[in-house]
């Protein structure tokens, strides 16, 4: 083995780096080769910054600046000056992006104004200045929305989720308040109507007040009151109903779950609404439990109020039922109109007790939404220096939550949150607990890269894949689990095209897989697992990481995994990787395989079944071929198989069986009776109506044959059949039989 290769193998196995063969990567400012194009993010059009649009509870609650710019350009950048406007507006977008990445905050309109003045300063005072002003004015008029700008930073996950949560809760509050106002108004109307019917309501004094001052002297209210008291029936409510309605009004008026309507809120006595936003799971849980009795009281009041308004409340039936209302808690449907709780926690600050509370929330089905923010997925393992956890500690919570089956789970990097905006809303409106596990990418101190790039790389390298699990989406994994947001979901590692210029200035293109090692290589804490190979020592024993992972290791390795990186001058470097990182990459790939199976990609059960079926099919084909080969030499034609027995007669359609009637029997075709009363008028003992108000012969002995014949004759739809006479002594039988003949 050559000395170089030997050194590489030694490094791979032990991490030892002989200086004559390998360089340490510390201080070289290397980054994965695929990052070369992402050095200056402000120059690149991407989803960030985002505009948090106020008062929208649909997918437009957040919009990307680049999306807004594109829509504005669609409207204004046409005609002869279209290209000029496009140029100016894109400059503007870049300026705003630079401002937000520089730390500026504020609304879109405020930053637009700042950016516009900065752009104007950079231009010469000339005609160009005027045209810039014109372009920006027209584009600004086309951007119809406004809101705070948010960049991809450590604050983004909580900020965005809280913004969405506010919008959803606001919509909920409006619907709830409208409902409560309606109930209060209707209940008050009931009490008012009761008062108007009472003795006090009909008193001369009250009657006078209701007419007003203008015509107060025109009536004799005493006489009116006397008249009303005598003439109108007295049907006042029972005192218990009055009391019940007053109690309902008190409960509805004192509720603190949603802010009261504007008019009611102005009253000094109005109770302060509850807050539903928490920093710890423990607080949210204990507060939820503390408020539960009030919640049940309000839910019960709403149910009773609906019954009262509908006039359906019956003390005999409902009192006992409502006495025990909510004793077993409320189910998710009942909780749906009430506010959801939002908890934002950071994984790094969570202690054991907080973990326990989180699991309790997720497993209890309560309407609590939890944001679990993870800033660092490459944190060092508590087991020892330099050991990776590769997000295991924080990722496990999302995976465990999926196992609970009834939790809405969303896992995503910050960079992908905008793409997941509708899924975020779905989680917030889900009836039950929801977990949003978000990697912010804000571990920049360890990599020197912007959070956007770190979080995007985590998702791309399968270190932190994005997925959602929505229990309300359907009955099976195919409808509930969504993994397709990850790039090239059917591959182990996404493959990207990479082009560079070699020493002879020739363009070289190759496909590179972006693996966990590429992601980890950008983190300075893991520099000791990497070693740069000087260009002159490059040889064929260095192979890409994805290829190394597919090889089975037997004995001493002859090929060493390596990654392509670039330095600060974008010069290509080749860096070899030690066995520990490769082990982590393999572990990461296995976890990705599990997710793929859940998502129906390369599902092992399906593949096994397919293989079994394929084999069975092949065997069958084989047998058929053999049988055919055996029969073929025979010269005589095979004896024709007995003709298949005639197809069984098509099952006759079910026909309604009518009872066999003899013409001697008297009967009515009840289903055809048109309720015309002819027969019942002739004899209402003999003919009667059934529960559908259609005639039948109730008692044949209750009348004469003559009446039967008369009924048959007068029946409008001829459905009465008189049959044969029962009494042979009935007078005029001969003539009656003749008359009955057409109806037999």
């Amino acid at each position: 083995m050559e000395a170089d290769t030997q050194a590489h193998v030694a490094f791979f196995l032990t991490g030892r780096r002989p200086s004559e063969h390998l360089d340490a990567v510390d201080g070289l400012d290397l980054r994965p080769a695929l990052f070369a194009g992402y050095r200056e993010l402000t120059q690149l059009r991407h989803d960030f910054p985002l505009v948090l649009v106020a008062d929208r509870a649909d997918k437009l609650f957040v919009q990307s600046l680049s999306g807004l710019t594109d829509s504005a350009l669609d409207v204004v950048a046409s005609g002869s000056d279209g290209e000029r406007i496009r140029k100016h507006v894109l400059q503007m977008e870049q300026e705003i992006r630079a401002l937000t990445m520089g730390g500026a905050s504020g609304t879109l309109s405020a930053l637009w104004a700042t950016a516009a003045s900065r752009l104007a300063k950079n231009k010469n005072k000339s005609a160009a200045d005027k045209s810039l002003e014109d372009s920006l004015r027209r584009a600004r008029a086309a951007v119809k929305v406004d809101g705070e700008l948010a960049n991809c930073d450590a604050a983004l996950p909580a900020r965005l989720l809280r913004h969405a949560w506010n919008a959803v809760q606001k919509q909920k509050a409006e619907a709830f308040r409208k409902d409560i106002d309606r109930l209060v108004l209707k209940l008050s109307d009931i009490l008012k109507a009761d008062f108007e019917r009472s003795a006090a309501g009909r008193s001369a004094k009250h009657l006078k007040e209701s007419v007003g001052t203008g015509y107060g002297d025109a009536f004799d209210f005493d006489a009116l009151s006397h008249l009303l008291a005598k003439a109108l029936p007295k049907d006042e409510f029972p005192e218990s109903r009055r009391r019940r309605i007053r109690e309902l009004l008190a409960v509805l008026g004192a509720q603190q779950f949603f802010p009261a309507s504007d008019a009611a809120a102005k009253k000094a006595s109005a109770a302060k609404p509850y807050s539903f936003f928490f920093d710890t799971c423990g607080d949210a849980l204990s507060t939820f439990r503390k408020r539960m009795p009030k919640l049940i009281e309000l839910a019960k009041a709403i149910a009773i109020a609906e019954l009262e308004i509908d006039g359906q409340y019956s003390e005999v039936k409902h009192d006992a039922l409502f006495e025990q209302f909510g004793a077993n808690g409320l189910d998710p449907q009942d909780l749906a109109p009430f506010p959801d709780y939002l908890v934002c926690v950071n994984a790094e600050q969570m202690q054991a007790a907080e973990h326990a509370h989180l699991m309790e929330i997720l497993s209890s089905g309560l309407p609590i939404k939890v944001l679990l923010q993870i800033d660092d997925i490459l944190e060092e393992s508590p087991n020892g220096e330099g050991n990776l956890t590769a997000g295991m500690r924080s990722r496990q919570i999302a995976n465990m939550a999926i196992g609970l089956n009834e939790v809405y789970v969303m896992q995503s990097s910050s960079s992908n949150l905008f793409r997941f905006r509708e899924r975020m809303l779905r989680g917030l409106t889900y009836r039950g607990p929801a977990l949003f596990s978000v990697f912010s990418g804000a571990s920049g101190k360890a990599s020197g890269l912007p959070p956007y790039l770190v979080s995007a790389a985590a998702m791309e390298s399968r270190a932190f894949p994005a997925f959602t699990y929505d229990p309300s989406a359907g009955p099976n994994w195919a409808s509930r689990f969504y993994l397709e947001a990850n790039s090239q979901v059917d591959l182990d590692w996404p493959i990207q095209g990479f082009a560079y210029e070699d020493e002879q200035h020739q363009r070289v293109s190759e496909d590179l897989a972006f693996t966990l090692v590429d992601f980890v290589a950008s983190d300075r804490r893991y520099a000791k697992h990497l070693a740069r190979v000087p260009r002159e020592k490059w040889n064929g024993s260095m192979i890409p990481v994805d290829e190394a992972l597919t090889r089975e290791r037997k004995g001493l390795p002859d090929k060493i995994p390596s990654v392509l990186m670039v330095d600060a001058d974008n010069v290509l470097q080749r860096v070899i990787v030690d066995a520990r990182l490769i082990r982590e990459a393999r572990r990461c790939r296995e976890m990705w395989h599990s997710l793929q199976e859940l998502g129906g990609v390369h599902n092992s059960h399906a593949e096994q079944l397919l293989a079994r079926e394929k084999k069975a099919w092949e065997d069958r084909m084989q047998q058929e071929a053999e049988a055919h080969a055996a029969v073929a030499p025979a010269t005589a034609p095979a004896v024709a198989a007995p003709a298949a027995s005639a197809a069984p007669a098509a099952a006759s359609a079910p026909v309604e069986q009518e009872p066999e009637r003899s013409s001697d029997e008297a009967y009515i075709e009840t289903a055809r009776c048109s309720t015309c009363n002819e027969c019942t008028t002739i004899n209402n003992k003999m003919f009667a109506y059934d529960r559908n108000q259609q005639a039948y012969i109730a008692d044949i002995n209750a009348g004469t044959y003559a009446q039967l014949v008369e009924a048959a004759e007068s029946c409008q739809v001829s459905v009465i059949h008189p049959g044969k006479p029962r009494n042979p002594k009935e007078p005029g039988l001969e003539e009656l039989l003749k008359r009955a003949e057409p109806f037999l």
């Binding site: 106002d181 108004l185 449907q333 289903a671 009363n677 529960r691 108000q693 739809v717």
Partner: protein
Amino acid sequence: MNMMSATECLLQMCEENFELEDYQSGVPRWCTGCGDNAILAAVQRLCRDEGLRPEKTVFVSGIGCSSRFPHYMNTYGFHGIHGRALPVAEGVKMARPDLTVFVNTGDGDCCSIGAAHWIHAIRYNMNLTVFLHDNQIYGLTKKQASPTSPIGTKSNTTPRGSYLEALNPLTVTLGVQNVSFVAQAVDWIPEVLFDIVKAAYHHKGLSFVRILQRCPEWLPKSLDPWMNDPNKVQLLNHENGLQFSAGLSKVYKNQLQHDPSNMDRAREIASSTDLVPVGILYRNPSVPCYEDLRRSDKLRTAELTSVGLNAELDKYTVWPQETKEKVA
């Protein structure tokens, strides 16, 4: 997921079951043999089967034999003025959208004096179920020709026979914008009558059902040709319309597949004169209801009324300042 919450289940637990008698009120004064009785029986059956609460149900009528209908229903009712059953019903529905509103009107009430209201009620498409009891004669006033009397009908007003072709309520209704449900029934096939009444009730929008009914007193033979020959009655069946029992199909063999969403075909079928089509001619559930378009989200509180009233009255207020300016 259409799961019911525990509270909803609790509220439904105490719902009452009704019997036919719960909807009956008084003995109908219609003549023996009158087709109105069949309509009454079908509607009472509908109320029972659908569990319509009597205090939440309203029958509105105009004037005529048919318009005595509300008297025989143990629900709320409004025996209105001649030709105005539809506007009264629209008012009830607008003010109380929670009520189920039925309209019973006759061929005179609807197609003569109330014709203007009829046209506009169809265009407004409010959620009402309208039964046109069409006996082709003015029965209550003892035999005068109505707009639907067949040409040549001898009556007290047309002793030499009526001179004009009868008006066809089906083609008229199908010609009005926003029409959403048109069906025809006959009183002598109670099974189909009930099915049509039920389909009309379940349609959201104005469902217009013309029911051909016999008048045994003043036009006893008028419908005999169709009643006595089942082949002259054409049942309209379709998977999206009505489907008939085997027993019925044995008697009424003349059946036609008709998709109720096909307006052109519906108009064609409605125009036939020799056959009586029975079934759903047209149904379009997507036509919006006027009450949904115009309903305000605002609660009618005392404050809202007083603000509205004051704003209106302020238009006529003479402000002292303006008066002074004018004087100056």
